[in-house]
Amino acid sequence: MLDVKGLAKAARAEGGPIEIEKQMTLPWTDAFRISLRNVTLRLGRAAITAAGVVLGIAFLASVWTSKVVVEGLELSQEEAHRRQVEAVQTAAGVEEEAGTATEVVTAEEKANRAARQAWLVIMSLLVCTVGITNSMLMSVTERFQEIGTMKCLGALDMFIVRLFLIESILIGLLGSLVGVLIGHLIMLLVFCIKEGWDTPAKMDWAAMAVYMLVAVAIGTLLSLVAAVGPAVRAARMPPAAALQTEI
């Protein structure tokens, strides 16, 4: 019943100052458990932060889905066109010029479209990052007292940073998974309605899967990057200042 081990560990000193050791434990498993708890129990706050990721990544996913779908449709159209041309050629001799003319226009259009898309995607991700940073800043600020308390209990700056980064990765991962699903499904539905329900069959699903994975990675990374600043700033505060902060 008695805990004598705690006593046995005491640093003993005779005469001089006591022996000061260095502090450095927060096992990853414990850090993960605490962070996960923070996300699940502060679901409202986490949802607001995640919403930024969801929106940004949903937009990215929708742009990429439409790209894959359009390419798939064009490919099948081109194939149909070529078959048609071949059929015409076999039927009525040589007539090639019309085909090449349409292809040139398509290439130029494609380049324009890609540039426009890249611009939109970059802008939306920038807006999304600003949103997440703001949300993270709020989330860290409202927990200054908690951070100060943890430092009083013996937490190092890096424990605090670690907790917040794990938390932001969790939020980022969850947010971008949801975002990818929403963006992808909505865009696919739109194309199905516009171009017919056989659209999914004409798509390159391998390319789509790669795009989706990249989108999830980008979302998680953005959330992580957005959290670094606020987390480091909070962790560096002297505990006294952190404890006195009122919001």
């Binding site: 705690g6 502090q23 007292q145 308390t149 002297p238």
Partner: protein, 300 residues
């Protein structure tokens, strides 16, 4: 004091000490109470870590401790050269009106902020010489903090709050859980282990905070206005708990307060005014004064 169970009928009594006979069956409870008291004494012996009783008389010493806050272009002195010696095992209250610098002194002694000038020694170690890792170790192992606003981690249960400093100290899970339970039992919350802070009353939250402060068997408990957010009765209970810990386990208690109830239990009272020690009163000098005020008197 913990609950006791009547040996003949199994009835649980919440307030042993007030009743000595079981209200259900009338059995004599004094034997059981003595046993519980003995167990409690044994438990108390493990609560505080007493490293070097024979080596230093003073556990905390400050010399010329000065803190100046710079607010814009104005310099606000919060402490103007405080010299203070805290004896090992004493119950010291720091009293003074708000803004007198007692919280600042608390922060300096607890290693929560750096002084502008002067030195603060804990067990003869100059705090200014410690790096971040050593300072964290000191906060984790040597000092237990209690705050006016309890400062429990809201997403964690009582038990998790108490065991958090033990995680930082690298204690094994089983040992940690056992000690957490023991400590919560000690402060009378053995049946509230898995409650979140918002499910507990103010007094109960402060009890969890007391248990947390004891997590790594500290040598010093620093309490900043521990009764400030509690009603009279609950505040008294917390003070009694701190005094009991101080008396039975020998942990040094330093408490910043302006709660007059603290006078009863303090060995010495340091009065701070405008960042300076105004006067230090010994408990012996106060006994008479309290007697004339007619306050409740605590006998040892």
């Amino acid at each position: 004091m913990a609950k006791i169970t009547c040996p003949s009928c199994g009835y649980e009594i919440d307030t042993p000490g007030i009743v000595t006979v079981c209200p259900e069956c009338g059995a004599d409870l004094r034997g059981v109470m003595e046993e519980v008291g003995h167990q409690r004494e044994e438990m108390m012996a493990t609560i505080a870590r007493d490293d070097s009783v024979t080596t230093h008389e003073f556990i905390v010493r400050t010399r010329g401790l000065t803190k100046i806050y710079v607010m814009g272009e104005v310099e606000v002195p919060a402490l103007r050269g405080v010299d203070l010696d805290v004896r090992r095992g004493e119950y010291l209250s720091i009293m003074g009106p708000s803004g007198s610098g007692k919280s600042t002194l608390f922060n300096m002694v607890g290693g929560l902020d750096k002084p502008t000038d002067g030195t603060c020694f804990i067990e003869e170690v100059d705090m200014a010489q410690l790096d971040a890792f050593e300072l964290a170790w000191l906060r984790c192992r040597k000092i237990g903090y209690i705050f006016q606003t309890f400062n429990l981690i809201p997403v964690m249960t009582a038990l998790e709050n108490v065991t958090l400093p033990m995680i930082f100290a690298g204690m094994g899970t089983d040992e940690m859980m056992e000690r957490g339970r023991t400590l919560l039992d000690l402060v009378g919350l053995g049946d509230r282990l898995h409650h979140k802070p918002y499910e507990l009353s103010g007094g109960q939250q402060q009890r969890v905070a007391v248990a947390r402060a004891l997590a790594n068997a500290p040598a010093i408990i620093l309490a900043d206005e521990p009764t400030g957010n509690l009603d009279l009765q609950t505040g008294k209970e917390i003070i009694d708990l701190l005094k009991e810990l101080n008396r039975e386990s020998g942990v040094t208690v330093i408490s910043a307060t302006h709660d007059l109830k603290m006078i009863d239990v303090s060995d010495r009272i340091v009065h701070i005014r405008d960042g300076e020690v105004e006067r230090i009163e010994q408990r012996a000098d106060l006994e008479l004064e309290i007697g004339t005020l007619g306050s409740e008197h605590v006998t040892d």
